[in-house]
């Protein structure tokens, strides 16, 4: 539906600069999505090598954040963007922040994956991780798709998904507490799983922020905290 076009400026260079921050944000989104997928897989498959890769590559995501932020500051300084252009630039500076935080959470998940893989024990809680992990990966993917197409409807639908994720998170917490009560020896291990689940829930919140910013870019309407 709403197709935003950031082109046809009197200054062609300006078109290119806006297109570039958009493209680079999408690249960063893709990278973060992959980090998240790998981190969740590393937990479930006890793949410590994959987890190490995620931890190493977090630096890449950090660098992307700094680069994109710099490009945005340059655009503001050079072009004094207004209206939809201004909203896009502001959105991108906020979105890179959310993406970077998602990258951080993925790294935390990977850290826990290394610990979980290094010790034997129960795989209790993995079902919860797999289930919530799938939902969160899908939600992040939907958010990035909505951004690529500036699709407000898709963004609003994706925001809804966060409610389900919050519910699933609470259910998972209850399950994990039950495991710990049933078998106190598993507490240390299940706590690690609990942190993973917690990170996944946080990622859902960041994906929701992304969607709210998409609505802001297209409609100029701030729907946060409503």
């Amino acid at each position: 539906m709403d197709k935003m076009k950031f082109e046809n400026h009197y200054m062609k260079q300006f078109d290119e600069e806006l297109e570039e921050i958009r493209t680079r944000l999408m690249e960063m989104g893709g990278k973060v999505e992959q980090q998240l997928q790998n981190a969740v897989r590393a937990v479930i498959e006890a793949d410590s090598q994959l987890a190490e890769d995620v931890i190493k590559e977090e630096q890449l995501v950090d660098n992307m954040e700094v680069d994109i932020d710099e490009a945005c500051i340059l655009i503001i300084a050079r072009r004094q963007p207004a209206a939809s252009d201004l909203r896009l630039v502001m959105m991108v500076t906020k979105a890179v922040n959310d993406l970077e935080r998602i990258g951080d959470e993925a790294k935390k998940i990977a850290n826990h994956a290394v610990i979980l893989a290094s010790e034997d024990g129960t795989s209790k809680g993995y079902t919860e991780v797999r289930h919530l992990g799938q939902s969160v990966v899908t939600m992040l993917g939907n958010a990035l798709d909505a951004f690529a197409r500036f699709d407000v409807d898709a963004a609003m639908r994706t925001i809804e998904e966060d409610n389900q994720i919050d519910l699933d998170y609470k259910t998972a917490l209850r399950e994990l507490v039950t495991y710990m009560m049933e078998d106190p020896r598993s507490i240390g291990r299940v706590l690690n799983v609990l942190w993973v689940v917690r990170s996944l829930e946080r990622i859902g919140d960041h994906a929701k922020n992304l969607c709210e910013q998409i609505v802001f870019v297209v409609k100029g309407k701030d729907i946060r905290h409503q």
């Binding site: 300006f14 004094q80 207004a82 209206a83 909203r87 609003m156 809804e160 729907i223």
Partner: protein, 298 residues
């Protein structure tokens, strides 16, 4: 849009409005021309207007420069008029104190009132009108006289000062309000044309406010000035708005964004949109406004 996400019915109604607006925009995108029955969008009218303009048309011979413009200017408001070259914003501004009277071929139709008084009434004294509605031009144009005489000229011919002391006071006050006093108090009797461009422009503003106008019209007052002089004038506009009503035509959109309360966008002689300035520069209502302020004309 998914209604479930919107907490209140009011929010939902709002969202629908936004929805409708976007669709209009998409239609307009096909075509940057203006329809003949173009209606101004936004907030053209105010509760306590200083000046009211209704269905104003301005012609140069057969050519129509302003089409059916209706707008209010509120008391103590700073209103900015923006738009591409030739859009009619200066023509409209000049019709507010009948500067267009001096142009032979120019004809103004419609209603232009200040405090309810028709400014185009045949009996109206135009010289007195221009004291009540002062004007500052693009290029600083001090008289080739001393700084003192530049400011004193208006009060003298309008009989605003009975004594030399009164006149001295008006001159000092006006120069102070124009933030020029400290720079020129030692050389009041040197020529006004010897000042820098920025100082000359502030001298012209002092000259305009010396006759205690109610409204000040500014036609690109900073376009011949450097950034520092521009900043001084902008700061001055802010201060002056406490006592005067100001309408400013500017080519600098950042300037409009900085100094004005409302912004009016003109396009091909039509008033397209009037809205609070912060809205115009973040979420303009009309597609044409958006295209202009984001630099998509060409």
């Amino acid at each position: 849009m998914n209604e479930a996400n919107l907490a209140t019915p009011a929010a939902a109604a709002n969202a629908e409005k936004v929805e409708a607006k976007i669709e209009v925009k998409l239609d307009a995108k096909q075509n940057l021309e203006v329809a003949d029955d173009q209606v101004t969008v936004g907030q053209c009218f105010t509760d306590a207007p200083k000046m009211t303009m209704r269905n104003v048309n301005v012609f140069y011979d057969d050519k129509q420069a302003i089409h059916n413009v209706s707008i209010d200017i509120a008391q103590n408001e700073v209103i900015a008029m923006i738009g591409p070259s030739g859009c009619g914003k200066s023509t409209f501004l000049r019709s507010l104190n009948r500067m267009n009277d001096t142009v032979e071929s120019c004809r103004v139709e419609g209603e232009i009132c200040m405090d309810g008084e028709d400014l185009y009434a045949p009996k109206l004294d135009v010289v007195e009108l221009r004291a009540r509605v002062g004007m500052v031009f693009q290029k600083p144009n001090p008289f080739p006289k001393s700084i003192y005489d530049n400011v004193a000229y208006g009060p003298k011919i309008h009989g605003l000062a009975d004594t030399r002391v009164d006149l001295d006071e008006i001159v000092e006050n006006s120069l102070r309000r124009a933030s020029l006093w400290d720079e020129v108090k030692e050389r009041l009797h040197q020529s006004g044309t010897g000042l820098s461009g920025g100082q000359q422009q502030r001298l012209c503003i002092a000259r305009a406010i010396a006759v205690s106008p109610e409204v000040i019209l500014m036609d690109e007052p900073c376009s011949a000035l450097d950034p520092i002089a521009t900043a001084k004038i902008e700061e001055l506009i802010e201060e002056l708005s406490e006592n005067f009503t100001i309408a400013i035509v500017t080519h600098s959109m950042q300037q409009a964004a900085r100094v004005s309360h409302r912004t009016a966008y003109f396009h091909l002689g039509r008033l397209i949109e009037v809205n609070p300035t912060e809205q115009v520069f973040t979420m303009p209502e009309h597609e044409l406004t958006e295209a202009y302020i984001t630099g998509r004309f060409g």
